[in-house]
C-alpha cells in the first residue's frame, strides 16, 4: 500500500508532458444513520462500557426501523482523451457496511429480555451487509454531436462479505420466564473466515456502467447507471439458514430440586439450531441509478445549478428470477431513500465553493453538502456531504468527508 501511495505521489509531483489527460485519487468516508448517532457506532467500534444512560439515549433515538450505512472508498483514476472521446481507468478499494434493524432488537440486545416479560419483541427485517472489494474499471466515453455515451466494464475482486438477514424474528417472554416463545427465519452468507486478511481474494465479479449525456435546450441532461454488477464468492463461503418456531420452558427433569450447574449450563447455552454449509453464492454490489439536469445560472455568483436524483439498487440476496418485484425490492432493500439534490459552484478569489442541498439517502433527511475546489496544476476538492452534522456536535447522525486530488496532464 505504501508503494502505491509513493507512486501516486510521484505521479502528481513529477512534471510529465501531455494534454487533456487527467489523473487523480479520491478518498471518501461516509457514516450515515437515519436514527442512531455517531456515538453509537463509536462505541461499537472502539469499545468502552455502555451504561444505562447511554442505552436509554440510544433507544430513545432509535426508530422503528434503524439504518446505518458506512462507506470507506479510495480510488485512483486516469482518464485519457483520444480525439473527442475519453478512455478512463479506475482502481477502487471499496468498504461498505449496511445495517438495518428494529427498535425492539436494539432494546433486546441492550437490555436483555427481563424488562420485556409478557411482551413480544419483534426483530423482523434485520439485515447486516458488509462488503469489501477492489474494482478495476475501464470506461470509454464516446462523444458525438453534443451527446456523450459512456460504457464502463469493471472487474471486481471480492475480499470479504457478510450478508445476514433475519426476515422474521420474534421473542415472547412469559411472566417470570415461565417460557420463551421464539420464532425466527434467518439466512445469511459469510465468506471464508479462515483468512481475514484485507486483500484475500474470496470472489470475483463483474459490473457495468452506462451513462448518457446530452443537451436539451439550454440544459445538460445526464442519465447514468453505475456499478450494476455482482460478485460470486467462492465455495469456502458459509451459508447459514435457520427457520424455527419453538417454545422453550427449560430442561424437563425428574427432580427439579436436584439442580446443578449442568442443568443451568444446558439451559442457557444456545443450541445450534442453525444449519450451515459451505457453498458458493452471489451478492450484488450497490448500483447507482439517477439523472441530473445542469443549467447555467443567471446569478453571476453561481456558475451553474445541478438538480439531480440518485437512487440505489441492491437486493439482500441475489436471485436469478426475473420479475418486476426484484427490481422494486432491490431499491427498497438498498436501505437508501432516493436522494434529491441541488448543487452549484460559486467562484471565489482562491477557490471554488461547491454547495449542495439534498434530501434522502441513507440518512433519510435534509443534508447540506459543501466542498472547496482549488484548481491548479494539481487540483484539490475537499468536502463533506453532511455539513449539518459537523455543526451538530451533540447528536451527529452522519459524518462525511471526501477528498479528490487530480492533475490535468
Amino acid at each position: 500500500m505504501r508503494y502505491f501511495i509513493l507512486i501516486i505521489y510521484l505521479l502528481f509531483t513529477i512534471k510529465i508532458s501531455g494534454q487533456n489527460n487527467k489523473v487523480g485519487i479520491t478518498s471518501e468516508f461516509n457514516f450515515e444513520s437515519n436514527a442512531l448517532n455517531l456515538d453509537f457506532i463509536n462505541s461499537l467500534l472502539y469499545g468502552g462500557n455502555i451504561n444505562e444512560e447511554t442505552k436509554v439515549k440510544w433507544i430513545n433515538l432509535s426508530q422503528e426501523e434503524n439504518k446505518i450505512h458506512t462507506l470507506f472508498q479510495n480510488e485512483f483514476y486516469f482518464k485519457r482523451k483520444i480525439k473527442n472521446n475519453n478512455l478512463g481507468f479506475k482502481i477502487s478499494d471499496v468498504n461498505t457496511l449496511d445495517i438495518s434493524f428494529s427498535k425492539d432488537l436494539l432494546k433486546l440486545v441492550l437490555n436483555g429480555n427481563f424488562e420485556y416479560q409478557n411482551q413480544t419483541v419483534i426483530f423482523n427485517q434485520t439485515h447486516i451487509r458488509a462488503n469489501r472489494y477492489q474494482k478495476y474499471n475501464l470506461q470509454y466515453e464516446l462523444n458525438l454531436n453534443q451527446k456523450s455515451f459512456l460504457l464502463g466494464l469493471s472487474y471486481l475482486k471480492g475480499n470479504h462479505n457478510i450478508n445476514l438477514n433475519i426476515y422474521e424474528g420474534s421473542l415472547y417472554t412469559a411472566d417470570y420466564g415461565e417460557y420463551i416463545d421464539i420464532n425466527y427465519n434467518i439466512n445469511g452468507f459469510i465468506t471464508d473466515t479462515s483468512n481475514i486478511s484485507l486483500f484475500k481474494i474470496n470472489g470475483n465479479g463483474l459490473a457495468v456502467d452506462l451513462a448518457l449525456q446530452f443537451d436539451y435546450k439550454e440544459y445538460e441532461i445526464n442519465l447514468y447507471l453505475e456499478d450494476l454488477g455482482f460478485i460470486k464468492w467462492n465455495k469456502n463461503s458459509i451459508s447459514l439458514a435457520a427457520d424455527s418456531t419453538f417454545i422453550y420452558n427449560g430442561i424437563n427433569v425428574d427432580n427439579i430440586f436436584n439442580y446443578n450447574d449442568s442443568i443451568f449450563n444446558n439451559s442457557i447455552t444456545n443450541e445450534n439450531y442453525i444449519n450451515n454449509q459451505k457453498e458458493s453464492y452471489i451478492s450484488n454490489i450497490a448500483t447507482n441509478i439517477g439523472f441530473s439536469v445542469k443549467g447555467e445560472s443567471r446569478n453571476t455568483n453561481f456558475n451553474y445549478f445541478i438538480f439531480g436524483l440518485n437512487s440505489k439498487w441492491q437486493p439482500y440476496t441475489y436471485k436469478r428470477e426475473k420479475s418486476l418485484k426484484i427490481i422494486t425490492d432491490g431499491f427498497k432493500q438498498s436501505n437508501y431513500k432516493t436522494l434529491l439534490y441541488i448543487s452549484s459552484e460559486i467562484n471565489n478569489k482562491y477557490c471554488k465553493i461547491l454547495p449542495q442541498i439534498s434530501y434522502g439517502g441513507y440518512s433519510e433527511d435534509l443534508n447540506l453538502g459543501l466542498a472547496i475546489k482549488i484548481e491548479s496544476k494539481i487540483s484539490l476538492i475537499l468536502g463533506t456531504k453532511h455539513l449539518e452534522d459537523f455543526l451538530n456536535k451533540d447528536d451527529r447522525k452522519s459524518i462525511s468527508l471526501f477528498i479528490n486530488i487530480f492533475k490535468i496532464l
Binding site: M1, R2, I5, I8, Y9, F12, T13, S27, S43, L44, L45, Y46, G47, G48, N49, I50, N51, K55, V109, L110, N111, G112, N113, F114, E115, Q117, T173, Y176, G177, E178, Y179, I180, Y248, N249, G250, I251, N252, V253, D254, N255, I256, F257, N258, Y259, N260, D261, I263, F264, N265, S267, I268, S376, K377, I378, I403, I405
Partner: protein, 688 residues
C-alpha cells in the same frame, strides 16, 4: 509560481503522509450488561413420578382413585445348608511295594565245537561232521567264568521277593553230568546262588529254581561253571560243531525293596470306593449341582512323574460320567499337587455303585482311583517306601436334591426388613383409611412345614414406636403364635415347575403405618417334616424354598396434618463467570389437595447454614370442590434473593403438607399433578 508549486508538493506530501501513517484508533469490543430471564428446568410430578420405589406399584380404580400397592418378601429361607457338601473323601496312601518288574532272562550257549577246540588234537580226532565215539571226558570244563551283563534291566536291585531259575538244555549227542554252577555279584563277590545238576541227558532239559528274597543283585553277575563232565557216548555219534548246551538264567516274581532300574509302564494301585456323605438325617438320592468344585490332592514321593485316573461314574453331565487323567509330578518339599474340577451343572447320583450288592443306597458316592507310573526309558531309583498319598475334597452347592430332607427346625429370629417409604417424613399426623395387608405363605419344598410367627410388627426406630399385627381375618385368631401348616409342594411330572402349597393371612394394618415405620420385624419357627415318616419322594430346589411375602394396599385417602418431609440432596455448581444468577423463580402449579409450606436450607461444605430460600413460602392446595376433588391447580410463584451458589454443597428441602381440611379425608387421583418451573434472572456482561 515555482514557489506555489513547491507549497502544493509539501501539502500533498503531508496529506499523503498523514493518510499513510495517521495513528490508528485501536478497535475494541464494547461491553454492556443485560438482564435475562430464562426458564431453567421444569418438571411435572404426578403420583407415578413420586412413587418410583420398585416395591411400590400404583393401582387406579375406575374413578382414578390411587392406591399404593406395596410388595415385599419378608421371609425368604435358604435351605442350602441341608444338602451342601463340603467334605473330604477317599484319603489313602498307595505304597510302591506293589510295583511290578518284568522277569529278567539271561541266556548262554556253549557249542560242542567250542569244547573240541579246547581238546589236544580235538579237531583232528573229532572233525566236524564225522561219526565218532565220544569218550568219557571228566572235568572237561572246570572253573569256567562267564560275565553276565544285566544292565539293560537294572543297575542294582534289593528284593523282598524273587526266584532265580537255571534251565540247562543239552543238545550234545551225549550226556553231561556233575554240573556245578555259582552266580556271584561282581561288585562285592557275594554269592547269589549255586546250582548242581548230577546229569543232563542228551536232548533233555533240566531246571532248578531257588528264592533270592532279601538279596541284592548287581547288574554285573559272574557265572562260574565249577565243573562239567561229558559222558561217553552210546556208540558212534555224529559230531556237529553247532550242537550246544543252552543255559538260561531267569529272575522272576520280582518284589523290590529298593532298585535302580528301568521300570515298565504299570498300574500302581486301584481304589474303588463307596463314600457316604452326612446330611444330618436327610436321605438324598440325587443332587443337582449348582456350583461344584472337586479338588484332588496328591503327594507323590515317586522319583519320577506318576499318573492318576479318577472316575466318578455317578457324577454325570449330559449323561457322560466324570473321568480325568492327570500326571503327578514328584512333590517338592512335601507340597501337594492339586487338581481342581468344576462340577457346575453336574448331577450327582448318591445311590452308590451301579448294580451294587444289596441294591441302591442313599447319600453314597462311588469313585474309582487308579495310579500309574510310566516308563521313561531312564534309570530310576525306587524305594519300597515311595508312595502316592491322595484325598478328594468335595464342595458342592446344590441346585436341587431329591430324597427325604430330614427333620429340621429353622428359627427366624428378629429378622427385619427396612422400608424407606416414610423415610422422608420427620413429623406430623397421618390418618389412613382402611389399609389391607395380605401375608402370603408359599411352600415350594417337597416336605411339609409348620410355621409359627413369634413376632410380626412395624417399628419406627426413630420414635421408638412399635405396632403388632393383630387378628388374622381369615381365621379369627391372632397371627402371633398360631401354627400355619404348609403342605408339601409337588413337582409336575417329576420335574419343574413346582406346584407350591400356598396359604394367606389377612390383616388390617392402618395403625401399623400411621407410625411411619422404617422396619417390619419378623420372628418365626419353621418345622420341617414335623411328625412325617421318611419317604424318598421329597425334593428341594434351593432357589425355591419357603417365602412369606407381604402385599399391602394403601388407598390414598387420608388426612394429613403438618406432615413434614425432609430430603437432602448434594449440590454441585460451578458458577460460570460469563453470567451471574441474580434471582431464582419457582413457579408452582399445585394440583394436589394439599397445602404445602416449603423452605430450602443451603449448607456449605462444613454443613453450616448459608441461607434459607423460599422461607415460609406457602403453596396453596389446588382449588377443590365440595367433594374435596381438585378442579383447578393453584399457582404460586416463589422468588429467591441473590444466591452465592459457589459455596453450596447440600440443600435440605423441608416440605410441610396438610390436607385442606384436617377433619375430612382427601383422596389422590391419577389426574393430579404438581408442576414446577424454575427460571432465573441472569446478569450477563456482553463483550467480555
Amino acid at each position: 509560481m515555482l514557489k506555489y508549486h513547491k507549497q502544493f508538493k509539501l501539502i500533498y506530501f503531508l496529506v499523503l503522509l498523514s493518510l499513510t501513517f495517521s495513528c490508528k484508533h485501536e478497535l475494541e469490543r464494547p461491553t454492556w450488561d443485560i438482564n435475562l430471564i430464562v426458564p431453567i428446568a421444569n418438571t411435572q410430578i404426578n403420583i407415578n413420578s413420586i412413587v418410583k420405589d420398585s416395591i411400590i406399584s400404583i393401582d387406579e380404580n375406575d374413578s382414578g382413585l390411587i392406591s399404593l400397592i406395596y410388595h415385599e418378601n419378608i421371609i425368604d429361607i435358604n435351605l442350602d445348608s441341608i444338602i451342601n457338601i463340603n467334605t473330604i473323601i477317599g484319603e489313602k496312601t498307595e505304597k510302591l511295594d506293589s510295583i511290578y518288574f518284568k522277569d529278567i532272562v539271561i541266556t548262554d550257549t556253549a557249542t560242542i565245537g567250542e569244547l573240541i577246540v579246547q581238546l589236544p588234537f580235538g579237531t583232528i580226532l573229532f572233525p566236524n561232521g564225522s561219526i565218532n565215539n565220544i569218550p568219557d571226558l571228566p572235568n572237561v570244563i572246570s572253573n569256567d567264568t562267564t560275565y553276565i551283563d544285566a544292565s539293560e534291566y537294572f543297575e542294582t536291585m534289593t528284593l523282598h521277593d524273587g526266584d532265580l531259575t537255571i534251565t540247562i538244555t543239552n543238545n550234545f549227542p551225549t550226556d553231561i553230568s556233575n554240573i556245578s554252577l555259582t552266580l556271584i555279584n561282581q561288585n562285592n563277590q557275594n554269592i547269589i546262588a549255586s546250582f548242581t545238576f548230577p546229569i543232563v541227558s542228551s536232548g533233555t532239559i533240566e531246571t532248578q529254581s531257588i528264592s533270592i528274597a532279601g538279596m541284592t543283585i548287581d547288574k554285573n553277575i559272574i557265572a562260574i561253571l565249577n565243573n562239567m563232565d561229558v559222558n561217553e557216548s552210546n556208540g558212534p555219534v555224529t559230531i556237529n560243531y553247532e550242537d550246544a548246551i543252552l543255559t538260561k538264567i531267569k529272575i522272576e516274581n520280582i518284589g523290590i525293596t529298593q532298585a535302580t532300574a528301568y521300570f515298565p509302564d504299570q498300574e500302581l494301585s486301584q481304589t474303588l470306593t463307596e463314600s457316604k456323605f452326612n446330611f444330618n438325617g436327610a436321605q438324598i438320592k440325587e443332587i443337582g449341582i449348582k456350583k461344584g468344585l472337586v479338588t484332588i490332592n496328591i503327594i507323590s514321593t515317586l522319583p519320577d512323574t506318576g499318573r492318576i485316573v479318577y472316575n466318578i461314574p455317578s457324577l454325570t453331565k449330559n449323561g457322560i460320567p466324570f473321568t480325568t487323567e492327570n500326571l503327578v509330578p514328584p512333590t517338592i518339599n512335601g507340597e501337594m499337587t492339586k487338581y481342581e474340577f468344576n462340577f457346575d451343572e453336574y448331577i450327582l447320583n448318591l445311590t452308590g455303585k451301579e448294580n451294587r450288592i444289596g441294591g441302591d443306597t442313599i447319600n453314597t458316592i462311588y469313585t474309582e482311583f487308579f495310579t500309574y507310573i510310566d516308563s521313561t526309558g531312564e534309570l530310576i531309583n525306587i524305594d519300597q517306601s515311595d508312595s502316592l498319598y491322595f484325598f478328594t475334597e468335595f464342595i458342592v452347592i446344590p441346585e436341587y436334591a431329591i430324597g427325604f430332607l430330614g427333620y429340621d427346625s429353622l428359627k427366624i429370629e428378629n429378622e427385619y426388613i427396612e422400608t424407606n417409604a416414610f423415610s422422608n417424613i420427620i413429623s406430623g399426623d397421618l390418618d389412613l383409611s382402611n389399609v389391607d395387608l395380605t401375608l402370603s405363605l408359599h411352600n415350594f419344598v417337597g416336605a411339609e412345614a409348620k410355621v409359627i410367627f413369634n413376632n410380626l410388627s412395624s417399628e419406627n426406630t426413630i420414635t421408638n414406636q412399635t405396632r403388632l399385627a393383630g387378628i388374622d381375618l381369615n381365621t379369627g385368631f391372632n397371627v402371633i403364635n398360631s401354627p400355619y401348616i404348609l403342605n408339601t409342594a409337588t413337582l409336575s411330572n417329576g420335574w419343574l415347575p413346582i406346584e407350591p402349597f400356598n396359604t394367606t393371612i389377612s390383616l388390617e394394618v392402618s395403625e401399623l403405618l400411621e407410625i411411619f415405620p422404617n422396619r417390619i420385624n419378623t420372628s418365626a419357627d419353621i418345622y420341617l417334616n414335623h411328625n412325617i415318616s421318611p419317604t424318598l419322594d421329597g425334593f428341594l430346589f434351593t432357589d425355591f424354598t419357603f417365602d412369606v411375602s407381604l402385599d399391602m394396599t394403601i388407598p390414598l385417602t387420608f388426612i394429613a396434618n403438618k406432615i413434614i418431609l425432609r430430603d437432602t440432596t448434594d449440590f454441585n455448581y460451578n458458577e460460570d463467570s460469563s453470567y451471574e444468577i441474580e434471582k431464582l423463580y419457582l413457579n408452582i402449579k399445585n394440583g394436589y389437595p394439599l397445602d404445602a409450606n416449603i423452605k430450602l436450607i443451603l449448607l456449605d461444605y462444613n454443613n453450616n447454614i448459608l441461607d434459607t430460600l423460599f422461607k415460609n413460602s406457602n403453596i396453596s392446595s389446588g382449588l377443590i370442590n365440595d367433594h374435596y376433588i381438585v378442579y383447578e391447580p393453584s399457582i404460586t410463584i416463589l422468588e429467591s434473593e441473590k444466591i452465592d451458589f459457589n459455596n453450596i454443597n447440600k440443600i435440605i428441602f423441608y416440605t410441610e403438607l396438610s390436607s385442606t381440611d384436617i377433619n375430612d379425608f382427601v383422596s389422590i387421583y391419577s389426574s393430579y399433578n404438581i408442576e414446577f418451573i424454575l427460571s432465573a434472572k441472569l446478569k450477563l456482561t456482553i463483550g467480555e
